[in-house]
């Protein structure tokens, strides 16, 4: 059974030949595997593809997380990249400006929506621009027969918050201007659907929607249900109807909202280390596959034995049908190669007791 098939099986809730292994390898880690700066890696489609494949080959995990939210960089965007002394500035087609430190991943410095009066002028990113789908096309062409390619779509809540308004402002908006917030969220859901459909047309195997701003440490379950859930659901349902398989990731102890998440239309839920996988399996395991959750902290600085114990705990709790082993979140910058090798090698070998 190859990696693609194995991952696919688990997504369906079936039992593959062994636990699929899919750590959340992000910009800082993949660029380091390739030995280039993170910003070079995200602003060059060819390097990006090379880095993704190099990392997958190096470790032998089962997926590739095609993690750019609005996909490949276009010629216009590339031209607008500004290299400063200690960081790089990257304006995006959504109007938000990203900053990429020389040794870290991108973050928004200038959110796009200064004022809700601009709401009706917001434009969808044009997914037909040359370069947009280049990374996905290349990944599929080069390794798509063997490896599961999972592409990111921007989660409405997170991107409305971080990219469009700035999270602090957005959280206030929720209480003060809920009607505008809902309009923005609805627009962002349309953006995600547009991007997801394009990915499905090109042939992506899976779709990842990460919603960390809706983390359980940040908003209450009630606010999750009012502001995040309806739009996650709108996106997941639309993409499901279009033939897509969606994974949703939210940080924090999402135990209280797992039953909601299971109703979004997502095929699989990714949880961080605050969630007890065994309990999650009991509550929603019959409806969705699960994905997670070896603590990124352990992978970053745990001993070999601690990393192995982390893997065992996950597989013993949730292994078998409908389970994919992953890190609890995106890997820490500076996670030693050796540690990730330990995780992947051991997870491939280990059988549930």
């Amino acid at each position: 059974m190859n990696s693609y098939k194995r991952f696919q099986r688990a997504m369906e809730g079936d039992t593959p030949d062994r636990t699929p292994v899919a750590p959340m390898v992000n910009v800082p880690h993949a660029s380091r595997v390739l030995g280039v700066k993170p910003w070079e890696y995200v602003t060059d489609n060819a390097l990006y593809v090379k880095g993704q494949i190099a990392a997958q080959r190096k470790y032998g995990y089962d997926w590739i997380f095609n993690h750019q939210p609005i996909q490949g960089i276009t010629a216009e965007e590339r031209k607008a990249v500004r290299v400063e002394q200690d960081f790089v500035v990257l304006p995006t087609e959504m109007g938000s400006v990203l900053k990429i430190p020389l040794d870290g991943g991108p973050a928004v410095i200038d959110p796009a929506l200064k004022d809700y009066s601009m709401l009706d002028d917001l434009e969808m990113p044009d997914m037909d621009r040359p370069g947009r789908m280049e990374p996905l096309e290349e990944l599929l062409r080069q390794v798509g027969d063997e490896v599961y390619i999972c592409s990111k779509v921007p989660a409405p809540f997170h991107y409305a918050a971080e990219w469009m308004r700035g999270l602090n402002q957005f959280l206030l908006d929720m209480l003060v201007n809920p009607q505008y917030v809902h309009r923005l969220l609805d627009f962002m859901a349309d953006v995600a659907i547009e991007i997801g459909k394009k990915q499905i047309d090109v042939g992506t195997h899976g779709i990842m929607m990460e919603d960390p701003s809706a983390a359980a440490q940040v908003i209450s379950p009630d606010h999750y249900r009012e502001f995040a859930y309806p739009y996650e659901r709108k996106v997941a349902r639309a993409l499901k109807a279009y033939g897509g398989d969606v994974i949703i990731h939210i940080c924090g102890d999402t135990t209280p909202i797992l039953p909601d998440l299971a109703r979004t239309g997502a095929k699989c839920l990714s949880v961080d280390e605050s969630v007890d996988l065994r309990k999650a399996k009991e509550t929603v395991g019959d409806r969705v596959a699960l994905f997670g959750n070896v603590p990124v902290e352990t992978i970053y600085r745990g001993t070999e034995e601690e990393i192995k114990a982390g893997v065992r705990k996950c597989i013993d709790s949730a292994g078998g049908s409908g389970y994919i082993l992953s890190s609890s979140c995106g890997l820490h910058r500076g996670t030693p190669f050796k540690n990730l090798h330990t995780l992947v090698d051991y997870a491939i070998k280990y059988k549930k007791e």
Binding site: N168, L171, L172, L175, I219, S220, E297, H332
Partner: protein, 208 residues
């Protein structure tokens, strides 16, 4: 106690007329401020108990800020200076700023003179601001294991520049523990915004 209630509820619209009314009736600005601080204190408790999450807490803090703006011209300047001058920021490469902003607002609410440098602040900027403002306390936030270690660089930067003496460093954020704070040379650690206020007040007492 209406003012306190509005702070707790986050009544951004109601707070100003209520303060105006209070002042008209002859209450002092200090008295009204004390009532608002009491409200923020309760908000801190609600947050601790997970009855409030970040949005509710931010709204209360903003309500308090609106009130504070009205009162500031009426408060005696010495009082704020007495309570202490503080700069806070999240260390370079750390873009988590929710907790940082809450801490900044709680400190401001408690009467500190506060300068929030925001997230992703290079050591250089901490130093420039310290030179300019001569703060009593420097608060640094780091949410990740990687960035927590960078806080050591900030403190060392202050030492090298001769700006460390006579100043306290307080650190916080998910990556810290009491021990780690100690290890990197900080003077104190606080695990949440409410605790932060107590710690800062304690340090200011030590100073006198």
């Amino acid at each position: 106690m209406e003012i306190k209630e509005e702070v707790i509820k986050g009544g951004m619209e109601a707070i100003r007329p209520l303060i105006e009314e209070g002042l008209k009736k002859g209450r002092t600005a200090e008295d009204i401020l004390a009532e608002m601080i009491e409200g923020m204190h309760e908000v801190g408790e609600l947050f601790e108990r997970k009855e409030y999450y970040v949005p509710e807490t931010l709204l209360s803090a903003h309500t308090m800020m609106l009130g504070l703006e009205m009162l500031r011209p009426l408060l005696s300047v010495e009082k704020a200076a007495e309570r202490g001058r503080v700069i806070v920021g999240a260390v370079e490469s750390d873009i988590h700023d929710i907790g940082l902003n809450l801490v900044a607002m709680f400190l401001e609410a408690a009467g500190f003179e506060i300068y929030n440098l925001g997230r992703d602040v290079p050591t250089k900027v901490f130093l420039e601001k310290a030179e300019e403002l001569d703060p009593d306390v420097v608060g640094v936030s780091a949410m990740m294991s990687t960035t927590a270690l960078k806080v050591r660089e900030v403190i060392e930067g202050f030492e090298k520049a001769g700006l460390r003496d006579g100043r306290f460093f307080v650190v916080g954020g998910a990556a810290f523990s009491e021990e780690l704070a100690d290890e990197i040379g900080a003077d104190a650690y606080a695990q949440d915004a409410k605790k932060a206020v107590e710690v800062f007040q304690e340090l200011m007492k030590r100073r006198k």
